[in-house]
Symmetry: C2
Subunit: 378 residues, 2 copies
């Protein structure tokens, strides 16, 4: 198995590197003091330190259930399993579906593609457009695979969001084909204007909906969950148990206590949306000034701007950039067969405005040099 | 995949059930107030909430390294990978060694056997004696498998401990055969008299030594680690990354801060040893009074007393016991082919003396009834 470009980069950059690479939230927005209050409360009692149940801490599952039901998505605590982030949720599901075929978006989330490989799923990539996956190609592929992995909100890496129409079409196809949808939704709370309806809400019995506190609260808590029909969830428990018995109980108890004040959580995510929307605007302004040839779509939420630099190998570009103290992820990494090399993913949530300006200036300079070299070679 | 008896039981017992089943530490001994102090410190800064590195938080890896070097086992931070408990460490290693053959103890840890099945390892069980595995049978088996999984200290389920002589013999065989040992050591700090030398210390380049804070501090932190030669550890990083990116960062930072005062940690584990030794004595006294026909070996540490009730099916017994509010694990669960049914595992760390007396009295009554029924049938 190969390690991912992103994780390796994360481990080799210095504190001086300007990183547009990882999907890092802005540390300044972590609610660490509120979580500290919850930790103080929770650790007043030894109970939160004992072994817990494999499916997850029931009070927390109840609170997650409430988040669904208030959105009109009928859910009970039986439908929820707590996992160590969405990453582990994906591992559990793809381990259960090992050696099956799966329809994926192209490009897609690197960490999912690695897991599908590890669990020997046969990946069938289908082109992702700005308004969602190519429906005709999806229908053809899904009729064979009966299993799909999609990220409909502010997709990773592209930042694209599915239209309501495409969501309904996907739901119709999955129903007609009697298949299963894995809907990965780690960014869903990070919308700039309005929250999208999940496709799973249209398909409650034929979907795994994957949620996470990594982006809405903090990643180091490693808390995600699977929402699924009980008959789909039940067989996964034995896998979760074999893999790590249960997810971190202290984190679960802390987040459960934090969510007791739901208003506090709502205010926090509202602040995140406001700040990330501003950060995206700043990033966009500098991009348009410094890299005007980048072709991209303005995201409606999430953490990434994805674009194309025509005629340039971004995987060559990133090597020069790294030497100059800037890093991003070349688009090639997100294609199953690495077939495109002129795209790149830029994270806009982590860096300060000053760093963004400096980082993009450096990128622009290297890009100009590369264009110049290309011209001379031609 | 089947769920384990123990985890299912844990989830179906009520708060009134007297449980000798799980490997639960005594909650009263959790250092929750010291961990609260560490949590308060750590959460004063938002940094501990950000994504971390796959191999684990470096300051914590340094502290674990120090625990090894003070015992004369040469180790650097490069040799340590933090995992979500020993359970995940076993999953990572057996995933990497999937479809290989492996020599195991018979009986062995249920959670490991499940993982070996999940990862399609071919299990070769070798009889475990009171002083360690059967050496001749081990040598024959290991010459074929080149991979072994052993729990030399206060084994789960038997509580048996390998003699120094057998440790040396195992090391010799693993070296001669140029194979690899997986040494599971979650109970190693829970010795009553003196700490045993790990077999891995004799085999630093051919072993995975698995350690854990689940028993020495608290299980819900889900923090374990793998100590291995860098060449053995390196390929596992891609698996760990694919599985959950990294282990809980908040727990890692809290335990790192807690370990800054090493004296505090040493005093805590010394207290655990003293209290668990006392608890074992109490358990033993009641056992000898109430179930005098139980054949067992007095453990030198750990959490379990394992014994045999001649002529009785303990898997039938446990069903009656559950109805009367007492639960233990029938020995059959720990045999790969479930070939023995007259043994049982009793946890002595979790219940109070009063509960132990009441629970063992109930077991004794049910046992007498079962013997009576057996006689009548004969």
């Amino acid at each position: 198995m190969k390690r991912s470009f992103i994780r390796e980069i994360l481990e080799h950059t210095t504190s001086d590197t300007i990183s547009f690479a990882g999907g890092l939230p802005d540390e300044k927005l972590f609610p660490h003091l509120a979580l500290r209050e919850s930790a103080t409360h929770v650790l007043g009692d030894a109970k939160s330190l004992q072994y817990g149940t494999t499916q997850g801490y029931l009070p927390l599952r109840n609170k997650i259930t409430h988040l669904y039901t208030t959105e009109g998505f009928r859910t009970t605590a039986d439908n929820i399993m707590i996992t160590s982030g969405v990453q582990q949720a994906l591992d559990i599901i793809s381990r259960y579906h090992h050696q099956e075929a799966i329809t994926t978006e192209s490009p897609s989330y690197l960490g999912a593609m690695n897991l599908f490989d590890l669990n020997q799923l046969e990946q069938h990539p289908v082109t992702l457009h700005r308004d969602g996956i190519d429906i005709a190609a999806f229908e053809t592929s899904f009729s064979q695979t009966k299993l799909a992995y999609l990220i409909p909100d502010f997709q990773n890496p592209t930042g694209y969001t599915y239209t309501q129409e495409k969501r309904a079409q996907i739901a119709r196809i999955v129903k007609e084909q009697q298949g299963i949808l894995i809907e990965d939704a780690p960014y869903s709370e990070l919308y700039f204007k309005e929250k999208n309806q999940s496709i799973s809400a249209l398909l409650p019995e034929q979907s795994f909906h994957l949620g996470s506190f990594s982006k809405a609260l903090a990643p180091s808590l490693r808390l995600g969950w699977i929402r699924a029909d009980k008959t789909l969830l039940e067989p996964l428990l034995a896998y979760k148990e074999a893999m790590d018995l249960h997810s971190n109980g202290l984190s679960q108890a802390i987040v459960d206590h934090y969510l007791t004040d739901l208003h506090q959580y709502r205010s926090h995510t509202a602040l995140l949306r406001k700040m990330y929307s501003k950060k995206m605007q700043v990033f966009k302004t500098y991009l348009d000034e410094l890299l005007p040839t980048l072709e991209y779509t303005i995201p409606q939420g999430g953490m990434f701007i994805y674009g194309r630099l025509p005629g340039i190998s971004t995987s060559a570009l990133v090597k020069h950039a790294l030497k100059q103290g800037v890093v991003f992820v070349p688009g090639r990494e997100f294609y199953y067969k690495q077939e495109r090399d002129d795209e790149l993913r830029l994270n806009f949530t982590n860096c300060s405005a000053k760093e963004v300006y400096r980082g993009l200036s450096i990128l622009a300079r290297i890009y100009k040099q590369a264009c110049h070299t290309n011209k001379k070679a031609a």
